[in-house]
């Protein structure tokens, strides 16, 4: 540690050495090396102390380079009049350092996140050639989640699609791993043999599934994920060939996948997906498979999509009142992160603005300092000093300060990325965000860009210092810097403009967020907890046994004192569960004639008490009851949106409604109740018309159990597990979540954008305030004589403050107007993130402008009041 630091210190010293004029370089280097070595020998060396000493060495080096002309205002030789001004060295160094650390740090962190989510190559073979396939009816809205492919269609593509070199299907499930140690809940994906070929990832041990493994009657096999293999099997390669027990089914382990391979979600292991003849005969209605394909060499996404759609169209007859099913293809990346792009764009814009403000601030600080010594420079230049030397010293000084700031920035970015990766965001691949080589390189480049951008202007101005002294500067008693003040004014106005734009952005997101949280989701998420219970094993092969299991389970849970009510459902609100079907009346006639397929409605399978447990109001009629069982008249419940859509003129109750899901498989019945609307897809999405049926009248093998506890619900987890294992030890309870967490996650994008934008807006307004303060303070310093004369002539205090703040107000006015324009132009890009607020919302704009004006006035007030307290005798005598 200490040795590494010593090496680093030596390295920095040798870099600093080239600031020192050649004639003194060796002496300087030897002295500092010796001093630091001496400190290390006497055990007085620490990271902090070394940093401080390097800073001292840096000051020393710049002083020597400046040849004692106090070019480095670093030398302890500043005129008393400049004391307390914005340009004092420690303040300057610290401000530059902090600005670089914050600006570059934030930029680097955003780059790291964007890289993980959007740019880092996916760990698959030629990931751009891998497509995710979805099917939906033509009139179905886009945006439904993947996993919507019918087994029959998949099978047809497997035989008939030439545009795909390979094709794989998957189906997620939760299973319990038993035997050899404690039972463990796992996420497994049942996949076809093509799955691994499509992704092109080779196992590190053994093999993946081979063609034929997924045929009916094929072997029962498993491929382990890396984490599971390491955790459960001690990374023993000998596990290949052993048999494990998953969900009560023995499976032969044939291979182990490499680290990081967890497709399609965070999967622990993969098992063979076997499609039975029965599966394959199910058409269209049941679309429960995810499908991925690898494009053939000569195929594009478009040609493949056309071919897959054509295959479906030729194989199936168009059904009355239903739009034909089409295949939609998206690249792997697009299918995962498509809708996040807008959020990312806004973040990138925000961080860019904050960084630019930082650069403007450094430039402004530098100009302020340059103004302090402008006369010095002019005299020096007139005496024939080399301009390049002056310019170089400015660049070097910036470079080194920025370098230190850049190191802090990388540290900040590293920490920020760690936090981002740990966020339960649900953003794909964000958990893999980290400071890798390329992101670090970006940080270094950004630091360099900061130096160039922030030093360019002051350097250019320093270059003009060789012009003859202007007449106004002839008197040594005149404080120079008027011109610099004008430039700084321009910079500060630009800063204010960007600040306004950021404030408007943050304000719009804040309003959207508030509007979104104010939306009534249609149910009471509060304390309701949900669990998945799957009984898709041989023991429950028919509908009667399945119904009996869940009836027993609910009875047991209802008897638990902690449970207020319990129900089961196939698909939860806010989990993007999307199954839409066209509806018809009993005679097969579309309910609303004329439309292509009739209106599509969501189909939901829920048990009695579902509405009570989730807190969904029953508006008319009744809920499902235990009497709605097999053999009784089929009944259905619709939500208010469906009632309005289907029967706008009269009551819904009593009508007959049917959806057809497959060959003769119909759902629905006589409408017995109308319930409140639920925002199934989140607060910003419209309520889908929904038809509820009850599994008491149909078979179901997987249910999500929802439980409303009495009180806090701490014992519910245990109660649910006990109740399930009490019925059957091999039935797993998986995927515990609370409805409150789902409700929070539904606004995650807005919440995260809001926090990040608020942070940038805060940074921006702080930096802008410093900038305003600096420019006004310098202005005051430059006008001391004038102000002194005014005081002597009897100007009142308020006149003086007005004279000084007037300039700040002008800057603020220009900056704010420009900022509002910038915001209006930029906020259009945010439209996707906004909810219930216009991108040119007047009140948000007004608020941002008012806030900026207030901050400006406050920042200008300090030096203005100081000006009013000037003592004219002191000013006129000393200056």
């Amino acid at each position: 540690m200490a040795r590494g630091r010593a090496r680093l210190v030596g390295w920095v010293l040798s870099r600093l050495a080239w600031i020192v004029p050649r004639s003194e370089r060796e002496t300087w280097r030897l002295e500092w090396q010796a001093e630091l070595a001496y400190l290390a020998k006497s055990n007085r060396s620490s990271a902090l102390a070394d940093g401080r000493h390097l800073l001292a060495a840096f000051h020393h080096a710049v002083w020597l380079r400046a040849d004692g002309l106090s070019l480095g205002t670093l030398a302890p030789r500043r005129p008393a009049s400049a004391r307390g001004g914005p340009g004092r060295q420690p303040v300057f160094s610290l401000a530059v350092l902090l600005t670089v650390a914050l600006g570059v740090g934030a930029g680097t962190a955003i780059h790291g996140a964007a890289r993980a989510v959007f740019w880092r190559p996916l760990p698959y073979l030629e990931p751009d050639r891998v497509v995710v396939i979805d099917t939906r009816a033509k009139d179905e809205p886009a945006g439904a989640p993947v996993g919507n492919v019918a087994a029959a269609n998949f099978d047809r593509w497997r035989h008939g699609a030439t545009t795909l070199a390979d094709l794989g299907a998957f189906k997620l499930a939760g299973g319990t791993l038993t035997g050899e140690g404690p039972a463990e809940q796992l996420v497994d994906a049942a996949v076809t043999s093509g799955f691994f070929r499509v992704l092109g990832v080779a196992p590190i041990h053994g093999r993946t599934f081979t063609a034929g493994d997924d045929a009916p009657g094929g072997p029962s096999e498993a491929v382990l994920g890396f984490d599971l293999w390491r955790r459960r099997f001690d990374a023993d390669p000998g596990v290949v060939g052993r048999t494990i027990l998953l969900a009560g089914t023995p499976r032969l382990v044939v291979g182990v996948m490499p680290e990081g391979f967890r497709y399609p979600l965070n999967v622990d292991l993969w098992v063979t997906l076997r499609m039975t003849a029965e599966d394959l005969s199910q058409d269209r209605g049941i679309r429960h498979l995810g499908a991925i394909g690898r494009l053939a060499d000569d195929a594009t996404i478009d040609t493949a999509a056309r071919q897959l759609s054509a295959v479906i169209a030729t194989a199936t007859e168009p059904r009355l009142g239903q739009a034909p099913t089409e295949a939609t293809l998206a690249t792997l990346r697009e299918s995962m992160v498509g809708e996040r792009r807008a959020a990312m764009r806004v973040l990138v814009a925000a961080v860019t603005l904050a960084w630019l403000i930082g650069c403007a601030n450094i430039a402004s600080l530098t100009l302020g300092r340059a103004a302090d010594r402008e006369r010095d420079l002019r005299v020096r230049a007139a005496l024939g000093a080399s301009r390049s030397r002056l310019v170089r010293s400015v660049l070097v000084e910036h470079g080194i300060l920025a370098g230190l700031g850049g190191i802090c920035a990388l540290g900040l970015a590293h920490a920020a990325l760690g936090m981002l990766a740990a966020l339960p965001s649900g953003v794909p691949y964000l958990d893999q965000a980290r400071l890798d080589g390329r992101t670090a390189l970006f940080g270094v480049a950004l630091t360099a860009a900061t130096v160039v951008l922030s030093a360019a202007w002051p350097t250019w101005r320093a270059g003009r210092a060789d012009r003859p002294l202007a007449p106004g500067h002839a008197s040594p008693r005149t404080t120079p810097g008027v011109q610099a003040t004008r430039w700084r004014g321009g910079l500060v106005a630009a800063e204010l403009a960007m600040t306004v734009a950021l404030l408007v952005g943050a304000g719009l997101i804040a309003r959207s967020f508030l509007a979104m949280t104010a939306v009534d989701l249609g149910f009471a998420p509060d304390v309701v907890q949900a669990y998945d219970v799957s009984i898709s094993t041989r023991a429950y092969s028919d509908g009667d046994r399945q119904r009996a299991f869940f009836d027993d389970l609910f009875a047991r849970l209802r008897a638990t004192p902690d449970v207020e009510s319990v129900a089961g459902t196939f698909g939860l609100p806010l989990e993007n569960f999307d199954r839409r079907y066209a509806v018809r009346d009993r005679d097969g006639v579309p309910v609303t004639p004329g439309a292509t397929g009739g209106p599509a409605v969501q189909l939901r399978n829920v048990t009695p008490d579902y509405f009570r447990t989730l807190g969904i109001p029953v508006l008319a009629g009744r809920e499902f009851t235990a009497d709605d069982r097999r053999g009784t008249e089929r009944v259905a419940i619709v939500n208010a949106a469906a009632a309005r859509l289907l029967w706008p003129d009269g009551p819904a109750i009593g009508h007959h409604l049917v959806v057809e899901r497959g060959e003769g498989d119909t759902r629905g019945g006589t409408v017995v109740g109308v319930v409140g609307d639920v925002r199934e897809f989140g607060p910003s999405q419209p309520v889908p018309p929904t038809l509820y049926v009850t599994p008491g009248q149909v078979a179901i093998d997987v249910l999500t159990i929802i439980v409303r506890p009495r009180g806090e619900g701490n014992g519910i987890d245990r109660a649910v597990r006990d109740a399930v294992t009490g019925l059957d030890l091999d039935v797993p309870v998986t995927n515990r979540r609370t409805m409150a967490a789902l409700a929070t996650a539904a606004t995650f994008d807005q919440r995260a954008s809001l926090q990040v934008l608020a942070f940038f807006a805060f940074t921006a307004i702080s930096l802008a305030a410093i900038g305003v303060y600096g420019v006004v303070a310098l202005d005051v310093a430059a006008r001391r004589r004038e102000l002194g004369v005014r005081i002597a002539l009897g100007a009142s205090r308020s006149q003086l403050i007005g004279a000084v703040s007037g300039r700040a107000a002008t800057l603020a006015g220009v900056g704010i107007v420009a900022g509002l324009g910038l915001a209006a132009a930029g906020s259009r890009a945010m439209t996707n993130l906004l909810f219930d607020v216009s991108p040119v919302d007047m009140s948000t704009y007004a608020l941002a402008a008012a806030l900026t004006m207030t901050i400006t006035i406050a920042a200008a007030g300090l030096p203005a009041r100081r000006a009013a307290r000037l003592d004219p005798t002191v000013v006129l005598r000393n200056d």
Binding site: R52, H60, G72, P76, Q89, T873
Partner: protein, 107 residues
Amino acid sequence: MPRQVTLASLQVLHAVAQGTAYGFDVIDETGLPGGTVYPALSRLERDGLLVSSWEDRDAAHAEGRPPRRYYRATAAGVRALNGALERLRGLRPVDPARRPRPARHHR
């Protein structure tokens, strides 16, 4: 004689004239930051108030480190120091309670 000696330079010169020979010891002695002390040392040397030379190589190597650069005040340095101290001695502490108020020139 230098054009002006700041208080900080004076402190540095004082410390060296008192026998504090090395840069870091001057920092410890004066409590000034390193960014002030080193430029001051260089300037005082350039102005002829200090001279520097190198520590004995063998002694340093015996301690396993490179030889340090040490400073001594010149005769001119001691003269300048004493002159400045003499001028400072003319200043007297001010009782904060009886600070004379400047005359008001406006309002």
